[in-house]
Amino acid sequence: MTKTLRILALLLALAAAGTWVATGGNRGWTKTSVPVKTVDEITGIEAVSYEQRFLPGLEFLGAALLGASLLAGASFLFHNKQNTN
């Protein structure tokens, strides 16, 4: 059980960090849409439209790392309980 919790914690931390880095390492809040700019040929106006895309932010990474820490912490509690028995 201890080992399972620690492996889960490690996987969660790696998956969150990997996703965050792979999507560009957004240092702001999580975004569910990103601006796409195009230039109108006739008027020269730079138009802004939004493309639906999930871009995890720092709070996503923080929440995942916190979850991983809790899992790892729980594994120690479990370990201690087994030792006292």
């Binding site: 702001g28 809040w29 999580t30 975004k31 569910t32 849409s33 990103v34 601006p35 109108d40 006739i42 008027t43 020269g44 106006i45 730079e46 138009a47 802004v48 439209s49 939004y50 871009l55 932010g57």
Partner: protein
């Protein structure tokens, strides 16, 4: 012969008057290109977004840009930021209260410092900006670009007419319009930078 000359003179005068007359430009853009970008840059957090629900009418005379009048309307609910929770707050009661105040408007009253170069005119436009039901007098530097006969190119030949491109970049204070007045300024900047890029059509 005299009748022909009078007819020709009348035609020439009327045509000349028609060409010099102020034109009405409709800023409802079916292509969805028109946009207003807003930026709030606080020390701890930056908020960037845009709005594309733009409509309104501007009367512009290429021969006399100083006489420009008009009103631009932005649908408040069209304001968008990439974070969904931030967008919910932006539309909410504390911020813009879009359910109650559905429109952000700017009504141009007068122009000063008008400078014309070819098809382009720059001026300081004074008028009334209304956000969240609060009306304030503001003056913004504006650039007008008159694109004669360019409407056809934009509508694949379906309509003939002219285009007017308006660009403006100016700032307003969040506190002046009662937008989330309790928000700390290190997180939400009081200064809002606005960039307007819009094109209106005057069909013939």
């Amino acid at each position: 012969m005299t009748t022909k000359i009078i007819t020709l003179l009348t035609f020439t005068t009327l045509t000349g008057a028609a060409l010099a007359a102020p034109q009405s430009f409709d800023f409802k853009d079916p292509k969805g290109v028109n946009n207003a970008v807003f930026k709030l840059d606080a020390p701890l957090e930056a908020i960037n977004g845009s709005a594309n629900g733009i409509s309104g009418t501007v009367t512009f005379d290429p021969a006399n840009p100083a006489a420009t009048k008009g009103k631009i309307v932005v649908t408040a609910a069209s304001l968008h930021v990439p974070n969904p929770m931030m967008k919910e707050h932006l539309h909410g009661e504390q911020w813009l209260d879009v359910a109650k105040h559905q429109e952000i408007t700017f009504e141009a009253k007068s122009l000063s410092n008008v400078k014309t170069t070819g098809d382009t005119a720059t001026a300081d436009v004074s008028g009334t900006l209304t956000i969240k039901g609060v009306a304030k007098q503001v003056t913004a530097p504006v650039k007008f670009t008159y694109l004669k006969d360019k409407l056809a190119a934009r509508t694949n030949g379906q309509m003939q007419g002219d285009l007017l491109v308006i660009r403006a970049n100016f700032g307003v204070k969040r506190s002046d319009f009662g937008i989330n007045p309790k928000a700390p300024e290190d997180k939400v900047a009081d200064s809002i930078e606005l960039t307007l890029s819009i094109a209106g059509a005057s069909p013939r």
